[in-house]
Symmetry: C2
Subunit: 184 residues, 2 copies
DNA sequence: GTCTATATGCAGATAGAC
DNA sequence: GTCTATCTGCATATAGAC
């Protein structure tokens, strides 16, 4: 694999695990098996490399969500598939995780790809919900935007509860609790 | 205020904003207006001080939740009051925030108070939901543990979405979306 | 493109004086 | 209890050789 690619992927991994504040250029270089000079040749610094890595993670998140949301079946089926898909729960969400990082939130260049990715997710879920409403799956009173935010929040919050507990169980409970409400 | 107290409160603030990885002893000392020697006289190091600060934050979270959950009214009323209470949404949850920190999660001494606090919250919500079931407010099929996890996840995830968006709006949408489901 | 040298300051303490 | 001195190593680069 090429150096730039190794740098981006290593940065993605480190940001996922340790956040921006907890990730050093030195750690990135070691993980990517790249020298100091090499890293600074390809990127102006830690922030520029992080930006590239976060954008990549956003692209990956969208593709992964579409894998379940763009399937045949009712809206409820597709949302259920999305919620119940295999996840490494204790790792959390590689994009949502960055919302906890003060330097990501403070830097518009770093926050933008996080914002855009999660906004896209809510929008995509809202589209699926709206389709379900059109088919009479959901009550006419259901607000797609709100329900989409609730679904995305259950996932992001489920990760928080699971990591705190050291077990995927609270994540799974939260998802099943949501599905019981949605299907009731 | 006494030195120990200032150290604990300053550490709470810094952990809330920057996490454990992003908080240095030096920053704590500056915020607490305490010297190096003073801090190391009262605490064996950063981890011990963080432990005390996280326990304090856990106590505060419980008290704040009970303020709404231990009120008169139906279970739904009390949960609604809890969900809708005034929050500094963009700051997030001082306890849940730590679930993102790799060193908190890796150290049993630091993870324990985070785990216990969020487990307590889920348990307390489950009690309220069980009371609501007994009064016929919720369907007999509702599982209190699961619904409690869903509610806690919506809050924690709502913070994530709001911080990413730079606006409280997704948090509020997620909460209202949940309440619409619960009250339907 | 990649490497090594160099630089300032912070991280996270320990030691001993006052 | 608090202060200052001291220590090792990392953070985050920049400069210039190869």
């Amino acid at each position: 694999m090429e150096t730039v690619e190794r740098l981006i992927r290593s940065t993605q991994e480190l940001l996922w695990e340790r956040g921006y504040v907890g990730t050093s250029p030195k750690a990135i270089q070691a993980a990517a098996d790249a020298g100091q000079g090499s890293m600074y040749h390809h990127f102006s610094g830690k922030a520029a490399l992080a930006r590239a890595a976060i954008e990549r993670s956003g692209t990956e998140l969208r593709a992964a969500a579409d894998e379940q949301l763009n399937t045949p079946g009712t809206a409820t089926d597709r949302i259920t598939r999305y919620l119940e898909r295999d996840r490494d729960v204790l790792r959390g969400c590689q994009v949502g995780r960055l919302a906890a990082d003060p330097e990501v939130i403070a830097d518009p260049e770093l926050r933008a790809p996080v914002d855009e990715t999660l906004a896209w997710l809510r929008g995509r879920l809202a589209e699926v919900i709206a389709e379900g409403k059109d088919n009479g799956e959901f009550a006419a009173t259901v607000d797609p935007q709100r329900l989409a935010a609730t679904i995305a929040a259950v996932l992001q919050g489920g990760y928080v509860l699971a990591r705190a507990a050291g077990s995927p169980e609270p994540f799974e409970q939260a998802v099943q609790g949501l599905l019981e409400l949605v299907k009731a």
